[in-house]
Amino acid sequence: MSSPRHRLAPARGRTGADTPVKAACEVLGRRRQGPYWVLSFAAREIAERARPGQFVEIAVDAPHSLLRRPFSIAGVSRQGVAAGTVDVVFDAHGPGTAWLSTVATHDVLDIVGPLGTPFPLPQRKVNCLLIGGGYGSAPLFYLGEKLVAQGLRVDMIVGAATEDRILGTIEAKRLSATVTFTTDDGSYGTRGRVTDVLADTVAATGAGVVYACGPNPMLRAVSEGCVELGVPVQVAVEELMGCGIGACFTCVMPLRGRDGEVTMRRTCIEGPVFNGARIAWDETRVRLGPTVEDEPDEPPARPTDAELWGER
């Protein structure tokens, strides 16, 4: 790809590995993946700093739109010909994402990132169950690669409303020891929600930790399921974001501290990855989607949150 990348101004911001930058990013490609779009862009500083679970904020040029749009980082390349590339996977449903689905290779996007908290990686050996819903699976593949590279066993549950909305069947199979697919209508895999198979899968895979990303009602159900099962759970939530950088306080989730007190935490800077057991779901507007039907028999001993990554 003959790229005018050298003409782009350097990203603005600090050089620290944990700080976000604002960069003019050349679009390297945009392609369909099932019902979703995969967008790749050149963003060396973001690629170097990104960790799974973090997101970027992309300025969109949709009519009369003002605010950036947040997207989870679905993957980065740090080496080789594609070094400095960042991918996001998105669903074109509103004006901003519709506009994004029309950008052309070599267009330049204004992007801020990486933002938010990454998924914490286990500090000890444990089997990891990754649960993705819709485009929420994208960042989990990125996480899964890290976990596998760390020598951990990864299993997945990938859910969607219908077969054609399942993201990354092949990636899921390649990455994980086992994959369970669920669809609401049974058009692919097990009929039902991801939580319908949660307990069985945890039991079957000996999962010691669950990571989930997808619609908030799914995350609520997964979190509550994991609490019942006694499995630590980290979820990457979505909330309306005015800024994505911690400045506006629009994106809050109620989190219960160890003292039981609930405080409103900004999803964009204290999240989007939260301990799912700590979210005071009752105080959110997130209505329980699917419910866990089966009670697990005799859960195996598993590491606690504290053992895994210190308290979060």
Binding site: A9, P20, I245, A247, F249, M253
Partner: protein, 332 residues
């Protein structure tokens, strides 16, 4: 490039014109000397620390911090925002840690970083406002960090919906007198445009002791989800901000400046480009504060300063102060 990607980049414009360095951007806001006229708007720069991840926030002329209340405030449930044409609607409910926690955690950091702070004060009663002001004075009696107060009289999101101080000249004046009695720094009264006569409110608070005015806060608005029939915000109504309200804000500044040319004004509402700053200065503001645009561009403050310098240099304007109040109506 995207709708809110700005064409002018400080790195690019830095090359233009030999006199850029000679342009004097400094201004004075109600006795507060500032190196340039670009401040942040309350509630749009959090505590300052979040933005310091991007650049040294002591580069900002002054940071107007998120409004501080006597007690900690959890704020309103989500959804707290909605996008609107060229603007946004928000109802945060003044989420903040309360003045004690702010003094304990935020102030020391700001002091250490040498940030010039304008402390925004909010409350539910005159006593509340005064208590916050007192606590702030006690915490920084020499005004080493807190250089001014901004009294937020106009937040439409407080629980008691009937009580928007800035809507009634005499009630607004009462709050200002309360804070005045304990304030050790210049005091700006922040007003809302949602009144029949902004000049009357402005006059009342100035007579009550406000050293200057911040014009304007958000405009009350509403968005309804057409599908569900629910308000887009959990609070039903919220504050409209961003470029959409800029013409309303400029009008308020011009009206008040025309009526009381001697009163310093901090202009606020939809500032996005250097030419917007010029509009506010010409309308009569001594400086501007930038809110919603920060959400779109974290670097907006430093960028505006550079753009402003270039704009002035290109036109041979030696000091931004010479622009203040220079709007000349058409002859009839």
């Amino acid at each position: 490039m995207s709708s809110d990607v700005r064409r002018l980049d400080p790195a690019e414009v830095a090359g233009h014109g030999a006199d850029r360095a000679e342009v004097d951007l400094s201004t004075d806001l109600a006795g507060l000397a500032l190196p340039d006229p670009i401040l942040t708007a309350s509630g749009c720069f959090a505590s300052g620390r979040e933005m310091d991840r991007f650049y040294d926030v002591d580069r900002i002329a002054a940071v107007v911090v998120k409004s501080i209340t006597r007690e900690p405030r959890r704020g309103l449930p989500t959804p707290r925002m909605a996008e609107t044409p060229s603007g946004m609607l928000n109802a945060i409910g003044l989420q903040n840690p309360g003045v004690d926690a702010w003094v304990a955690h935020d102030l020391p950091w700001l002091a250490e970083r040498g940030v010039r702070v304008v402390a925004s004060i909010a409350g539910k009663s005159v006593a509340d406002y005064r208590a916050v002001a007192e606590a702030l004075r006690a915490a920084d009696p020499e005004a080493a960090t807190i250089r001014a107060f901004e009294v937020n009289l106009s937040c439409p999101n407080v629980e008691d919906r009937g009580l928007v101080f800035a809507c009634d000249p005499s009630v607004a004046a009462e709050v200002i007198r309360g804070v005045r009695s304990v304030a050790h720094v210049p005091m700006l009264a922040k007003l809302t445009s949602d009144v029949t006569d902004i000049v009357a409110v402005a006059r009342a608070v100035v007579e009550a002791g406000a050293d200057g005015l911040t014009l304007i806060n958000t405009v009350l608005g509403m968005v309804i989800d057409p599908e569900t029939g629910r308000p887009a915000l959990s609070n039903t109504y919220g504050g409209l901000s961003g470029p959409a309200i800029r013409p309303i804000a400029v009008r308020n500044v011009h009206q008040v400046h025309t009526a009381m040319p001697e009163v310093p004004i901090l202009g606020c509402g939809g500032v996005r480009e250097a030419t917007d700053v010029i509009q506010f200065l010409r309308a009569g503001a001594s400086a501007v504060s930038v809110g919603t645009s920060t959400f779109v561009d974290p670097f907006i403050g430093p960028t505006l300063v550079e753009e402003l310098r270039t704009w002035c240099a290109q036109r041979g304007i030696a000091t931004v102060r010479e622009l203040i109040g220079t709007c000349t109506p058409w002859e009839a």
